[in-house]
Amino acid sequence: MTVQNLIDDFSLEVLCGGADAAQKEVTGGYCGDLLSWVMSKAQEGDCWLTVMGNVNSIGVAVMTDVACILLTENAAFDEDAKLRAEQNGVIVLRSSENAFDLAVKIAEKL
């Protein structure tokens, strides 16, 4: 499924990212907040579930080529993170649900 499907199916808030990025294919998922773990383990095409909405998260997303960042439990999204995400075409989504609940539901659709 595409990032757009994800947005529609789970009524996600779109914090950053255009229509182009939303056409990216989601092929898997990864949950984690420690950036060095995520760097090493997240795969291209993953939907990355995290509470880290800072500028370094965007850096990690760029380096790992994840399909999108999904901020869980309404985690904060910094202004400078937004700027960096826009510069790099990183799509950032948000939900009020926690990582476990979201991951279970997303996994069903993959």
């Binding site: 420690l34 060095s36 773990w37 760097m39 291209e44 880290m52 370094n56 850096g59 380096m63 080529d65």
Partner: protein
Amino acid sequence: MDEIIRQHYDVDGSDFTRAGEASGKIKKTLKDIGFTPEAVRKTAIAVYEAEINLVIHAGGGEIDVEITPEHVRIVLTDHGPGIENVELAMQEGYSTAPDRIRALGFGAGMGLPNIKKYTDEMDIQTELGVGTVMTLKINA
């Protein structure tokens, strides 16, 4: 690609919001040149971890890149505090990162182990109070 490509980056130690910029540019260069996705990924992870370390632990530094058809070599130079015990620093989970850095998601003590894992060669020359020079090589 026949020639050797060389790049130089200054990494600002005071501006955390820009940390990762050099890595992003290096990654893009390798992608554009046509390095394999595997080599691009390995380099991206290693150089990002090393760049973040420059900012967090050493007050910034410099990155020099040399790309040939066979490999990419990256030299990171800083004039930070140096690493007291490299063997210890290389262990998974060892970190001296302060709380304000941990709050940003760093400080898991996984950076250097990641670099080791994703490079074909890794060398650290360090002296307390003088600085650290880390050399990484990834085969194309």
